[in-house]
Amino acid sequence: MQRMWTFIHKLGSPPWFFAFSGTLVRWLLPVTVLLLALGACWGLLVAPPDFRQGNSYRIIYIHVPAAVVALAGYYVMAIAGAISLIWRIKMADVAMRAAAPVGAVLTGIALVTGAIWGKPTWGAWWVWDARITSMLILFFLYLGVVALFEAYENKAAAAKACAVLTLVGTVNIPIIYKSVDWWYSLHQPASLKFTGESAIDASMLYPLLVMIAAFYLLFAVSVLLYMRAELVWQHRNASWLRQRLGTS
């Protein structure tokens, strides 16, 4: 147990984290690329099409993972924000700042692929379906955090303000998702289900799980890379970084 605490404590120190994340990314990136390629080929070429929607259903293998990780990314941002607010750990600020743009891009991917999927399936580029609408609101929440961060001159205060905003957002996300579901069922007879919870056949479920894992890994890699770039800039005059760069 003690070892775990020292590990978490060391995560907070920039030199240690910089080295640790370096090796982590060196291993994680190839694994992510491999998983993405495997999942994509499996979903695109091997898995059978949906009997009702045909091949356009294959977009599920990128739409659902992006949506799932985008939502998880917001919670990761909120946790990092809470840590930076409560224990004032600067590294948590850096993590939150890195997670915001990555989450926003993932939400964007989920929206775009959802729209492209809607065209052949429902004949419209934009369908006011409950899940797509909730995803759009999540996208606005992400934009709000990124915009708030850019608006502050003092970046330390900006990180704290964004932490408060993400915490307020996190409390509201379940309420937003639930209210949008009720709104959707209020105006729409429940017959038209978008990605219905119909039991997905195993041959489709496995590539989906592989792609979800790949997207989670990619989120981690991208956040770590953003954090490393930010650390290099924050500590550009620090001696530990100069020595490290001097040698490597």
Binding site: E153, N154, A156, A157, K160
Partner: protein
């Protein structure tokens, strides 16, 4: 009896470090004048000592008594009368009667203006309404940011007398000002030039 103790305080503004290594211990009966050129960080230090600034402030600041902080901005609502402004001043947690507030307003030569909207008073008079707060607070430590600006001669003398009485009764004052030291031997100087980062 120490009212405030600051150890190894460093202040940053944006990426630039303004001050570092500031040590200060304020006991009752002391008057401290914070000296320094414009932009060296006098107001920033005062805000840090008051507890308003935490980001970009390192070192430990311990406050042992409630304090009164008088900033450039007077915290006075133009729409309200001087009486209303002093009665429900956000930082003041003392309940003052009408008579006590009128007494304070008389002390700053604002007799007859008690119930007139502060917006219709002159800048100097509005400054006096803010200064009247000093008479209605039980804080032993006063942090005054440029208190003598926009005050005429009689106002400065009144404020000087007020500070002497406060310090005599066991209080302490830290103030920033460009005017030469007014309190002679009673006063100690904190020249920020020693702590500035070139």
């Amino acid at each position: 009896m120490a009212l405030l103790a600051a150890a190894e305080v460093a202040i940053e503004r944006g990426e630039r470090r303004l001050l570092h290594g500031v040590n200060l211990s304020v006991d009752s009966g002391q008057v401290w004048q914070v000296l320094g050129a414009n932009g060296v960080g006098k107001s920033s230090l005062l805000r840090a000592l008051a507890g308003l600034a935490r980001l970009g402030v390192e070192g430990s600041i311990s406050r042992f008594e409630p304090l009164l902080y008088l900033a450039h901005a007077p915290a006075i609502k133009g729409a309200l009368s001087p009486f209303e402004n002093l009665r429900c001043h956000p930082a003041c947690d003392i309940i003052s009667t009408r008579a006590q507030i009128e007494l304070a307003l008389q002390a700053v030569q604002l007799r007859g203006f008690e119930d007139q909207p502060v917006g219709s008073l002159s800048a100097g008079q509005q400054r006096r309404v803010a200064l009247a707060r000093l008479l209605l607070s039980d804080a032993r430590l006063w942090l005054l940011d440029e208190p003598f600006t926009a005050l005429d001669r009689s106002g400065c003398e009144w404020l000087e007398e007020c500070v002497r009485r406060h310090v005599g009764a066991g209080g302490a004052v830290i103030f920033t000002s460009h005017q030469p030291s007014r309190f002679g031997e009673l006063q100690q100087d904190l020249d920020l030039a020693h702590y500035a980062v070139s």
